[in-house]
């Protein structure tokens, strides 16, 4: 099986500075892949080259077995780190515009978006101008714009940066759903902990070079005994359980499931 995305010897320089330095990557189909590294490691540059927004100085990039082209862009969903919306545009027009530039017609787009619009409580906002929406609502619109063409591969650059907590959960749920559907998800983050919980495979970049990559399991196994383990966690009672117990002991009726929600 060909890799969803493969990079061979990719170099990208800005002046004398090598943002990406001879990078090789193999991202298999159906994995959730984390592109990790501190700020300035070359994550965004790598992603932009994969998306054909900038071109590598040398090396080769193949996406879904082909060199990136206009048709291929329609099979990939991309959420850049710097993302925004047209402020004066109505939400529904905005979503349909995102669909149109991915080659999706109005009817198909609306059919596809409808369930998501309901689950995200966006319907009352559809005819409002974007600038009237809260930041959290705008983030939902941006995310829907990434999905409107039902992409096979989803590339998210720092998807959780600046997201409000509710939307973090929302995006995580979407990513889990994507994984279940066997789609490939690539996201970059500088928060390693996030990747640890969500990714099957990772690559660690530092100063434009790849430090290591592979499945999380293999990497952890390889480093077993070479890095100190975290101290064992003392089991302690959860706050919710404590709350229920405290209510009971005060002689009141135990809280209902509705109240605890």
């Amino acid at each position: 099986m060909t890799a969803a995305i493969s990079l061979k010897g990719v170099v990208k320089r800005f002046g004398k500075f090598a943002a990406v330095d001879h990078l090789d990557l193999e991202i298999p189909h159906g994995t959730t892949f984390g592109l990790l590294g501190p700020n300035g490691a070359g994550k965004t540059t790598t992603i932009r080259m994969i998306m054909n927004i900038t071109k590598p100085d040398s090396g080769e990039i193949r996406v879904l077995g082909e060199k990136m082209n206009d048709k291929l862009q329609e099979r990939i969903g991309y959420l850049p780190e710097e993302r925004g919306l047209y402020r004066k545009m109505k939400v529904v027009d905005q979503l349909l515009f995102f669909a149109a530039i991915k080659g999706v017609d109005k009817d198909t787009a609306m059919k596809r978006l409808s369930p998501w619009i309901d689950s995200m409580d966006l319907r009352p906002w559809l005819l409002k101008k974007t600038e009237e929406l809260s930041k959290g609502m705008q983030q939902k619109v941006q995310f829907l714009g990434t999905l409107v063409h039902d992409p096979e591969v989803l590339i998210l650059d720092e998807p959780f940066a600046g997201l409000d907590p509710i939307n973090v959960i929302l995006v995580k749920d979407f990513l889990a759903e994507f994984k279940r559907q066997g789609k490939t998800v690539i996201f970059s983050t500088h928060v390693l902990e996030q990747a640890e919980r969500m990714c099957g495979s990772i690559a660690l970049l530092f100063r434009g070079k790849k430090i290591l990559d592979g499945t999380l399991k293999d990497i952890k196994h390889a480093y077993l005994g070479r890095v100190p383990l975290p101290p064992p966690v003392e089991p302690e009672p959860e706050l919710e359980k404590i709350f229920i117990k405290a209510v009971q002991e005060s002689g009141l009726e135990a809280p209902s499931a509705e109240e605890l929600k």
């Binding site: 932009r48 991309y78 850049p80 993302r83 047209y86 004066k88 027009d93 149109a100 080659g103 941006q142």
Partner: protein
């Protein structure tokens, strides 16, 4: 056409056309234009020459004739009368003296109300008299005073003293006119000629312009004013449009950049497609605006409407060639400047930063307005010809030349060809710069850097 490009064009177009600002501007611009014309007309009707004028006549021969000339001036009522009288004896009087009378009656638009009074003085007392008169002028007891000497009769030299040498030009001209006539008549008397002969013999020659063609084209000098007005109107329409829509493009590019939406879009379409879509979309906005204006003009020109509005003649006839040239050169000019504006906006973060560079093509455009009248006077002269081949002034200059006096066909062709090649080159440059610029945030790039972007690999 490419569906994605169409989506971009549609978005740009609807975003602009749906705004109230667009419709306000669409109706406000012709409204303001008409208002300006009305104000202009109203102002020329209210040219005023009023006030007390002291006359120091050292020659002793000019004061009375001057007052006589002033009193004999055709007034609003009188201006009509001689004309009618001329008509009555039309058989005897030749046409040209009618023309003369008409041109004189034109002067009566100036409301003249002078109070000329004689100031006694001799060359000896003149300094004292002057002192007194200067004070009167400064304290605004009188508007001005004039000093006439024997020399006035010999060479025409005389003196005008007022608070400012720049103000009251109209009044000065009026009085100079009366004085010229008065002095001429006095000089005739010296030569033993009856001054009445002067009035009878004076002739004002009117050179009526016609085109040197076997067949009368109907284009005569009488249309010159109208031609000038039509040519100028369209000329400035192109000029203003390029600035307005150029600014739309600049704002659009910067908006997408500052909204950070541009990266989402260029992950779906090529940057050049985005740029082209933007230019085409806003170009269509411009054409819509023109269509609305043309519709309004037609509505006014409809005979029934015109009758209601009390306009018996309707709108002036505009030659088809002028309209054709207008559309052609508007489009060429628009594409040239729109690409430049896109290229010069993309590298920057704010309108202020972009303005510093956008002003460069703006200046070239302004060059055409400063040279416009010279070129109009000599549409086939060197200046007009050169500027109609220089790509950044060609859209306006070649249009103007075509609308005034059709230049040789090869010149029009060459101008269009130069424009097309330049547009191609600028669009290529713009596309390259745009592609790099829209993803550059932070530090303001320098001009050499921007040029480097155009020639670097992707």
């Amino acid at each position: 056409m490419n569906a994605k490009l169409l989506a971009i064009i549609k978005r740009e177009y609807l975003q602009q056309v749906r705004t109230k600002a667009f419709w306000i501007a669409t109706f406000l611009i012709p409204g303001l234009g008409l208002a300006l014309i009305f104000i202009q007309v109203a102002l020329t009707r209210t040219l005023v020459a009023k006030g007390r004028i002291g006359v120091v006549d050292l020659s002793g021969r000019l004061y009375e004739p001057l007052v006589a000339e002033y009193k004999a001036r055709p007034t609003d009522d009188e201006a009509e009368k001689p004309k009618k009288a001329d008509e009555a004896k039309a058989a005897k009087v030749d046409e040209k003296s009618v023309t003369e009378k008409m041109s004189e009656s034109r002067n009566t638009k100036i409301t003249t109300k002078l109070d000329l009074f004689k100031v006694d003085a001799t060359p000896d007392t003149l300094p004292t008299v002057r002192k007194k008169l200067n004070e009167d002028v400064q304290k605004e007891r009188i508007k001005a005073y004039i000093v006439l000497t024997p020399k006035t009769l010999e060479t025409g030299a005389a003196e005008w003293r007022a608070q400012s040498v720049k103000a009251e030009v109209v009044m000065r001209e009026q009085i100079a006119n009366y004085l010229s006539r008065a002095a001429t008549k006095e000089r005739l008397k010296d030569k033993g000629v009856d001054p009445a002969v002067y009035e009878a013999a004076r002739v004002r020659v009117d050179l009526e312009a016609h085109e040197a063609k076997e067949i009368e084209s109907g284009e005569s000098g009488k249309n010159v004013g109208m031609n000038l007005a039509i040519s100028a109107t369209f000329f400035f329409l192109i000029y203003i449009s390029i600035f307005i829509y150029g600014a739309y493009i600049m704002r659009g590019v910067l908006e997408e950049k500052n909204n950070r939406i541009v990266e989402v879009i260029v992950s779906s379409v090529r940057p050049t497609t985005l740029m082209l879509g933007k230019i085409l979309g806003i170009g269509l906005v411009g054409l819509t605006q023109y269509a609305v204006w043309a519709g309004l003009a037609l509505a006014i020109a409809l005979p029934s409407v015109a009758a209601v509005a009390g306009m018996s003649e309707g709108l002036p006839h505009i030659p088809a060639a002028t309209i054709g040239a207008f559309v052609l050169f508007f489009l060429l000019g628009y594409f040239l400047y729109a690409s430049l504006y896109a290229a010069l906006s993309a590298p920057f973060n704010t309108e202020q930063e972009a303005q510093q560079f956008v002003i460069i093509p703006g200046m070239m455009l302004m060059l055409t307005t400063t040279t416009w009248f010279f070129a109009f006077n000599q549409p086939n002269g060197t200046l007009a010809t050169v500027l109609s081949f220089f790509p950044f002034t060609a859209p306006l200059m070649m249009f103007m030349r075509v609308s005034v006096q059709t230049p040789p066909l090869w010149q029009i062709g060459l101008s269009v060809a130069i424009l097309l090649v330049t547009i191609w080159a600028v669009a290529w440059f713009a596309g390259r710069v745009y592609r790099v610029g829209i993803l550059m945030y932070g530090k303001k790039p320098t001009l050499p850097e921007i040029f480097r972007w155009a020639f670097q690999t992707d």
